[in-house]
């Protein structure tokens, strides 16, 4: 890849401090170009959320990063101390969380939660931050933005809260937005609108994004590029169209086949065949053997 | 599927014993209480002097580490020349008697009412809850002073007063515990098996609220020691020829500038005893509560 890179992860490995140091990430590398949406896909436990948390410097205490580098722009994040990382992240990286119902502080008004970052990092006055927040709410097609600003989170529906969170994520014009399964907690009918909205906002603000999901159907709708993980190891990566239409790895093929599509209705879920799982396990065991040996 | 078995049944006993011993709060608190019990029981053998023996020639002697001390009086003497250590040792008898008897009395009354209110909703619960609320509207110390003033001083009166004012502590906690347990699957299962209400209350629910009750009991004993000290301090507890920590504190306060140790020694005893009962209760709660076990 010769394109300019916004974020690159190089050889990232992590182990669990419990479970006798079981590997969680195995030599993961990936790159996100400016303005592209990069999908991180895998089943639960595949390590996709750990990668997202590692970029944010917020891995759980039980997870220890053993080697690798995370480079945002020209800065290596893992070598920064907490204070430096905070400053950098505050202005340049934003998060669209998984559950809009718990990601807004129940006892603060929407206005306060949308403007605090602007005032902290961008030197906005209360008035200009408010105007900026109203513009953003307008961009996410929120009706009655003035009223919404005065609301407490419990007065808004789940879909409205997710719009607020998306608007807030783009408030500081971050270089990178990390979307952590942002549609999983939502109603299916709302999901599609939210995906479109994230795509539109990302395009308008020319922001790079990492989109964490377990759903290849969602990937097909929104991602430019995909990294597919299994048990902390990259199985396959590439452009979304290539990966979905011409999968090379057996695991990818099985996953693609298991994903329901409107043009190919299936009766119930198709599980990934045991043989494929066994092959993946063997591949990972071989990798672990090579690195430990 | 609800399991038709009470949670406390069929558990091996030895792991519980081991857990009891591994808990440092339990060891320290329990150890001190045990020491106190031994001191109280064998007070006449342990105490170096008669706690009532006055010797005005040897009044206000300092404790052994200060200049002018008499090695015969390790913790010094008070203004009447009585041996502080011996009075402290004999004082533990009143303190422990009150702690145990008043604690058990308050615990029995309060737990019974709490069990009833928690299991039988309707007027029983309303009546007990209202009674608790009325009781909570009294300043406890003032009420106990009032009761002792009405009934006259004496260890028995002090015990009655503590039971009368402190049953609510148990009633509130046990009521909430009982309510939570009454909703549990094992009670529902026992009910469908056709057990009577009293059987369920005392054979199924009581064993499950017991850990909380025992812990509360230990803490209440500490509180009873303090209330007894308060009543002695005000001059209402027991007759003046029985040494108590509270009366020692009260008389020590009169000569605090001349002989601070007369005041400090019984205060230290109360402090350590309350802390020990508290730690014992806390340790028991952790050790016995199936949810808090690690």
């Amino acid at each position: 890849m010769s394109e300019p890179r916004l974020l690159s992860i190089e050889g990232l490995s992590a182990v669990s401090d419990r479970d006798n140091g079981a590997p969680i990430l195995r030599d993961v590398s990936l790159a996100v170009a400016p303005g592209e949406i990069h999908g991180l896909v895998g089943e639960s436990g595949a390590g996709k959320s750990t990668i997202a948390r590692a970029i944010l410097g917020m891995t759980p205490r039980t997870v220890r990063i053993t080697q690798g580098a995370i480079i945002l722009g020209n800065t290596e994040l893992l070598s920064l101390d907490a204070r430096q990382l905070r400053r950098l992240l505050g202005a340049e990286v934003a998060l669209i969380p998984q559950d809009p119902l718990t990601a807004l502080n129940p006892s603060r008004r929407i206005e306060a939660q949308m403007t605090d970052g602007l005032r902290m990092w961008k030197g906005h006055s209360a008035k200009s931050a408010r105007e900026r927040a109203l513009t953003l709410l307008d961009e996410v097609q929120m009706r009655e933005p003035e009223r919404v600003m005065r609301c407490y989170p419990h007065e808004l529906s789940g879909g409205m809260r997710q719009r607020v969170l998306i608007a807030a994520a783009f408030a500081l014009e971050p270089k990178l937005v990390i979307a952590d399964e942002p549609t999983t907690a939502l109603d299916v009918t709302v999901q599609k609108q939210i995906l479109k909205l994230i795509r539109a906002m990302q395009a308008r603000h020319k922001t790079g994004a990492i989109f964490v999901t377990h759903d290849l159907g969602v990937v097909a709708q929104i991602c430019d590029r995909v990294t597919l993980l299994y048990q902390g190891k990259v199985m396959e990566h590439g452009l979304t169209a290539d990966l979905l239409l011409k999968p090379r790895h057996a695991y990818t093929k099985a996953l693609v086949r298991a994903t329901p599509r409107y043009d190919r209705p299936v009766d119930g879920l198709i599980p990934v065949p045991d043989a494929v799982i066994a092959a993946c396990r063997a591949e990972i065991a071989g990798f672990d053997g090579a690195t430990h040996g | 599927m609800p399991k038709p078995f009470s949670r406390t049944r069929g558990r091996p006993r030895f792991p519980a014993l081991i857990r009891l011993l591994q808990n440092p709060k339990l060891g320290l608190g329990g150890g001190f209480v045990l020491l106190l019990v031994i001191i109280a029981v064998f007070a006449p053998a342990i105490a170096p002097h008669d706690p009532l023996e006055q010797d005005l020639m040897a009044s206000a002697l300092p404790p052994f580490w200060l200049a002018g001390a008499d090695p015969a009086h390790l913790l010094g003497t008070d203004d009447l020349g009585r041996d502080v250590l011996s009075r402290l040792i004999f004082g533990s008898r009143v303190a422990l008697t009150v702690a145990v008897v008043a604690g058990v009395a308050a615990g029995t009354v309060g737990s019974l009412l709490g069990l009833l209110a928690g299991y039988f909703d309707g007027w029983t619960d309303i009546a007990v809850s209202r009674l608790i609320e009325i009781w909570m509207a009294f300043p406890a110390v003032l009420l106990s002073i009032l009761i002792v003033a009405i009934l006259g001083s004496g260890v028995g009166t002090v015990i009655v007063a503590i039971a009368i004012i402190d049953w609510t502590r148990f009633a509130r906690v046990i009521r909430a515990d009982t309510m939570a347990n009454a909703q549990a699957d094992y009670v529902v299962a026992a009910r469908t098996l056709g057990f009577g209400r009293w059987t369920i209350l005392f054979r199924e629910i009581l064993p499950n609220v017991m850990p909380g009750l025992i812990a509360l009991l230990a803490m209440e004993m500490g509180i009873a020691v303090v209330i007894e000290a308060i009543l002695s301090f005000v001059g209402l507890s027991v007759s003046s020829d029985t040494p108590t920590w509270g009366s020692m504190i009260a008389s020590g306060r009169q000569i605090i500038y001349q002989a601070w140790w007369v005041f400090a020694a019984p205060l230290a005893a109360v402090f350590a005893t309350v802390l020990a009962f508290n730690q014992l209760g806390d340790g028991l709660r952790r050790a016995l509560d199936p949810v808090m076990r690690r």
């Binding site: 944010l56 917020m58 205490r61 905070r86 400053r87 950098l88 992240l89 505050g90 934003a94 998060l95 969380p97 998984q98 559950d99 718990t102 990601a103 502080n105 129940p106 006892s107 939660q113 605090d116 970052g117 902290m120 990092w121 407490y152 419990h154 969170l165 | 209202r130 609320e133 009325i134 909570m136 509207a137 009294f138 300043p139 406890a140 110390v141 003032l142 009420l143 002073i145 009032l146 009761i147 003033a149 009405i150 009934l151 006259g152 303090v226 000290a229 308060i230 301090f233 005000v234 001059g235 605090i256 601070w260 005041f263 205060l267 402090f271 309350v274 802390l275 508290n278 730690q279 806390d282």
Partner: protein, 334 residues
């Protein structure tokens, strides 16, 4: 919400009636006859009957209770037997001192408790947390009476920093026009009087505040621990806010509600604790007067003070309920 308030007020009346009944029963079964104690040796039986009638001590017990309750409801608490003055006036003089003491203690407990909880949360899994947990455990285990005596030993004898008794130093010659000495001195800007009144408050306030501070710290820290793993805290971290700001501006708002509710209930225990603490520090408040009343078997005074405390306790619970509703945005708009 209005229906809720009405219901609470009705419950409050029932509880107050219960308190009055208990006070009445307690004092009427008292074996010591207050009249016999009051009169001199030369009094005639007619004098005793007259006195009984004067204090409403004649007639059947239910009759006495009805008369007594009626008088209470009219604000007539009778005349103190030992002090020979109107009980309401006596309470009016002493209550402000107790309130000043109790509210200062509440303030100190809140500041100390919240500070301990925040420090413990910031020092999560480090020495800070262990120190705070240990300190709260110790403060919690030891009741106000014992703290008061330890403070006497520490600040009265070992390092005599603060006065051991009273409310103000009479030699200072400060003149007060209201019974709220500290408040008045603050409002009128009398520096010396403020310092003196505050110095007299230090030990009793600390004795009352330390256990409450520990309860506040423990409950609040539990609630903060819960709040700090919520997603909105994660989001605030991504926004790059400092941990201190996250704890105070994000988590504290959500954690403080239940803590304040509990603090309110505990405040009634603190008020109860003023009785013995006032006694220890010869603080001229309601509790000290109550103990005098008990020792002198001063029935009207005792019942007046006990009822005043009961009313304060019930009122506190009512205020707490309403505050909790007011603080929670969900309940407020619901």
């Amino acid at each position: 919400m209005i229906a809720g308030a009405a219901h609470r007020a009705a419950m409050m009346a029932v509880t107050l009636f219960g308190v009055a009944l208990v006070v009445f029963v307690l004092l009427r079964v008292a074996p010591g006859d207050p009249i016999a104690m009051m009169i001199g040796p030369g009094a005639s039986p007619a004098d005793i009957v007259a006195l009984r009638a004067h204090y409403g001590l004649d007639g059947s017990l239910p009759m006495q209770f009805a008369v007594w309750l009626g008088a209470m409801l009219h604000g007539d608490f009778g005349t103190s037997i030992s002090l020979r003055r109107d009980v309401v006036a006596l309470i009016g003089e002493r209550l402000p001192a107790t309130l000043e003491l109790a509210f200062c203690a509440l303030g100190v407990a809140l500041v100390l408790g919240i500070a301990l909880a925040v420090i413990g949360t910031l020092g999560k899994r480090r020495a800070g947390e262990a120190v705070v947990d240990g300190a709260t455990g110790l403060l919690l285990a030891i009741p106000d009476f014992v703290w008061a005596l330890l403070l006497v030993l520490l600040f009265g004898v070992a390092v005599p920093l603060f006065p051991m008794s009273g409310r103000v130093d009479p030699s200072l010659g400060a003149q007060f026009h209201t019974p709220f000495y500290l408040l008045e001195a603050l409002v009128t800007g009398q520096g010396a009087a403020v310092r003196d009144a505050a110095a007299h408050l230090v030990m009793p306030v600390l004795a009352l505040a330390l256990p409450l501070a520990a309860i506040i710290a423990r409950v609040l820290k539990g609630a903060l621990d819960e709040a700090m793993v919520q997603d909105y805290v994660l989001l605030a971290r991504v926004k790059g806010f400092s941990e201190l700001r996250i704890v105070t501006r994000e988590a504290l708002r959500n954690a403080i509600g239940p803590t304040l509710a509990l603090t309110g209930v505990q405040f009634t225990f603190l008020l109860g604790g003023t009785v013995i603490v006032e006694r220890i520090f010869s603080f001229p408040g309601l509790g000290n007067m109550a103990i005098e009343g008990v020792i002198n078997r001063d029935l009207p005074l005792i019942q007046g003070i006990v009822l005043t405390f009961g009313f304060l306790f019930i009122l506190t619970n009512l205020v707490v309920d309403l505050t909790v509703v007011g603080l929670n945005p969900k309940l407020r708009h619901g």
